[in-house]
């Protein structure tokens, strides 16, 4: 009926060394670096645990590949690609604090 879904994932060509959260694959982890988002949205994400320095893991993706579910410090949060591509992460390196 009305809810027709597009199956199959779209993924952009990966740049060398992913730096956006959106570029991580399901199951991968990274350290949050910077939230380049409108202040209100960034603040809301930080209240949920998306604080620079903490480890974020891509848990799973919804049907069609978007939105995806992330886990930070025990909290699971779903967001769309339009936000996660503006969140910078560092692939290497230990978490600054926590975990």
């Amino acid at each position: 009926m009305i809810f027709n879904f597009r199956f199959g994932r779209r993924r952009k060509a990966q740049p060398a060394g992913p730096s956006a959260l959106a570029d991580l694959k399901v199951g991968e982890s990274a350290v949050l670096a910077e939230l380049k988002l409108a202040p209100a949205i960034a603040e809301h994400l930080m209240n949920l645990g998306f604080v620079p320095g903490l480890v974020v893991k891509v848990l799973r993706c919804g049907p069609g590949g978007d939105p995806r579910v992330y886990r930070v410090d025990g909290t699971e949060v779903a967001m769309r690609r339009d936000l996660s591509e503006h969140i910078d992460v560092e692939l290497l390196g230990a978490p600054a604090f926590g975990d």
């Binding site: 009926m1 009305i2 809810f3 027709n4 879904f5 597009r6 199956f7 409108a38 209100a40 949205i41 603040e43 809301h44 994400l45 930080m46 209240n47 949920l48 645990g49 604080v51 620079p52 320095g53 903490l54 848990l59 799973r60 993706c61 919804g62 049907p63 069609g64 978007d66 939105p67 579910v69 886990r71 410090d73 025990g74 909290t75 699971e76 949060v77 779903a78 967001m79 769309r80 339009d82 936000l83 604090f97 926590g98």
Partner: protein
């Protein structure tokens, strides 16, 4: 509503105004189990109200402290921080700092945190403690913490925070005596906390992790079942399939279970009305009570079972955690009309009733998205349209099989009307989101709580809450309209006798608007129905019943036959289309006014929907009239 709700003890009525209670504010983030805890502490001894000047609703409950003294608990909206950026947060901050007009600052604060997610939630605790009120910190969900092998040293944490701390479970009741003790003791003001001077969220968070580590906090493992269920419910193939089954199940429940319940309730109202009539002296008074009050209000009351059932089903989905997953699944489709997954929940509720749906839009953070959702919700086919559709379709469309035993013509027509409303909602959403409510981003950020068994007591309390709100509406607005309508059909009197219907006030009103609705194929009787159905859509049935009941010519024939006399088939289609699109509902107008804080949006919405309904009905009348004679 009634002032005295039965309390567990034979106590004095709780709402007697002059007594001044000590007030304690309850604050906590969403998903901390704050509401469950509040319900557990206060049971049925609570009332709902709005904070002055804003649309945020709050509950006040009453609880006895260890000395048996009454204390008023004020349940604040769920907030993550005390930086007032949303209306909910502003309310929480205003109440806590004593800036809420007409409310004294609270005597103390209870902070409810989720112990399975301590680091995130301690940030809020720090901000509340910094306000300097006597504070009790409750670490809720102790049962989940232990079960998943988590741990925390409460005494060390209390020392770190400078406030009493208790590990509790709102579900099992564990540790709740700490609340009673806190309420009765003159709790000491917290020592000024040595908090990070950097007011940034990151600074708070680093502090929270440090404090957690000092208190030996071990975060529990993610429940295994949550991960398992998520890999099924968010599966790329099974996820949407299960979603469709759940949505279909919700509808099926409302129709297959709710409809017979409503019919049963209708029978009960009819027989009790007749029984009541026997005990009343005949004449005007009997007519007023039975035809005016009982039948008018009853025609709306019959929806109570269906509405409660919908709230029950949605409540189960919400409390179990599935609704967050459904929002993720629906997000993709919703994004095509410029909305996001959070609008899905209110729009699903709108199939029962637009009023709770509009109230449920509060969870949508984006103001523009929220407004768009409010504006399209009344296009969804609510249960009040159902009896109108059923009656008109049954009167005009003979039942024939279309797809074997699965789909008959009448069911197909009904389905078509559902789709019609939905398509208009989609069109309107697109229109709004590309014009007056245009916004670049409608962020979809959704916390995914672990799956839990819904608690019957918590569901029950919510149903009581909703039921009371609905009855209140039926008892006020709808009764008033029923009385006005009764008066309009029974005046002006001739020699102490009610007039023939064609001489009554209501007929004059119908004749006044007849020229406007003639092009749609409606006569003055339908016109009267359109006016009275403003109370609630299905009132048109009662109205037409009254009009025909007192009409000597059609006295003996039933309503469906009467309708066939009155409307051409094209007029019937026009009537259905008009009802699909028009905002014939005072309660919806009232709730939109309340939620948007003014008459501007309800006026725009009413105007838009009426124009759309008029044009569409006009087109339907002429197009169908061209083919069907």
């Amino acid at each position: 509503m009634g002032a005295s709700i039965a309390s567990c003890h034979a106590a004095a009525p709780v709402h007697d105004a002059p007594k001044i209670y000590r007030t304690v504010a309850v604050v906590g983030p969403p998903n901390s189990g704050k509401t469950t805890l509040f319900n557990r502490l206060t049971r049925l001894r609570q009332k709902v109200g709005n904070f002055p000047g804003v649309t945020v609703e709050h509950h006040t409950g009453y609880v006895r402290d260890a000395n048996g003294e009454e204390v008023a608990l004020v349940d604040l909206p769920g907030v993550y921080s005390l930086i007032p950026k949303s209306e909910d947060e502003k309310v929480a901050v205003d109440v806590l700092t004593g800036k809420m007009p007409g409310m004294a600052p609270p005597d103390a604060v209870i902070v409810v945190l989720n112990s399975t997610n301590l680091h995130t939630h301690l940030v809020l605790a720090a901000r509340v403690i910094a306000l300097g009120l006597p504070t009790l910190v409750l670490l809720n969900m102790s049962d989940e913490l232990r079960k998943q092998d988590g741990d925390v040293d409460v005494l060390t944490l209390a020392r770190e925070l400078g406030t009493p701390v208790a590990l509790v479970s709102a579900t099992t009741g564990e540790g709740l005596e700490a609340v009673q003790n806190f309420l009765s003791s003159a709790a000491p003001r917290p020592e000024p906390l040595e908090l990070p001077v950097i007011g940034s969220t990151r600074g708070y968070r680093e502090w929270a992790v440090r404090v957690g580590a000092n208190a030996g906090y071990r975060r529990p493992a993610t429940p295994v079942w949550t991960a398992r269920l998520d890999s099924l419910f968010l599966h790329r193939v099974w996820g949407p399939v299960i979603f469709a089954v759940v949505v279909a199940g919700v509808f099926q429940t409302i129709f297959a279970v709710g409809q017979p319940l409503s019919n049963l309730f209708q029978k009960f109202l009819d027989t009790s009305g007749a029984a009541l009539g026997h005990h009343l002296p005949g004449g005007m008074f009997q007519s007023l009570v039975i035809n005016g009050v009982w039948k008018g209000t009853g025609s709306v009351l019959v929806f109570l079972p269906q509405i409660l059932l919908l709230f029950l089903v949605i409540g189960i989905l919400e409390d179990s955690g599935y609704l967050s997953r459904a929002a993720v699944i629906a997000d993709r489709t919703m994004s095509r009309v410029g909305l996001n997954g959070k609008s899905f929940i209110p729009l699903l509720s709108a199939y029962a009733c637009a009023v709770p749906a509009i109230m449920a839009t509060r969870t949508i953070e984006s103001k523009r998205d929220r407004m768009a959702t409010i504006l399209i919700a009344p296009f969804m086919t609510c249960s009040a349209r159902l009896p109108v559709y059923t009656m008109v379709i049954a009167a005009f469309l003979p039942e024939r099989r279309l797809l074997g035993p699965f789909l008959g013509t009448q069911a197909a027509a009904m389905l078509g009307l559902y789709v019609l409303g939905f398509l208009m909602a989609v069109f309107t959403a697109r229109l709004l989101k590309s014009t007056i409510l245009k916004s670049k981003d409608s962020p979809f950020i959704m916390e995914m709580p672990p799956y839990r068994w819904p608690m019957p007591s918590s569901l029950g309390l919510r149903l009581v809450d909703r039921g009371k709100a609905f009855l209140y509406r039926a008892g006020t607005i709808i009764m008033l309209v029923s009385l006005l309508l009764w008066a309009a059909t029974n005046f002006p009197m001739h020699h102490g006798q009610p007039p023939q219907v064609q001489d009554s006030v209501v007929a004059k009103l119908g004749h006044v608007i007849e020229p406007a609705i003639r092009p749609l194929g409606f006569d003055w009787k339908i016109g009267v129905g359109l006016v009275t159905s403003m109370a609630a859509r299905e009132v048109i049935i009662a109205t037409l019943g009254t009009l025909h009941g007192v009409d000597p010519q059609s006295h003996a024939i039933d309503l469906q036959t009467a309708l066939r006399h009155e409307l051409t088939p094209a007029g019937a289609v026009a009537l259905l289309v008009f009802f699909a699109f028009a905002m014939q509902c005072m309660s919806t107008i009232a709730v939109v006014r309340r939620e948007t804080n003014g008459w501007k949006w309800p006026a725009i919405q009413f105007g838009y929907m009426t124009v759309v309904a008029y044009i569409a009905a006009f087109a339907a009348y002429h197009i169908v009239g061209h083919f069907v004679r």
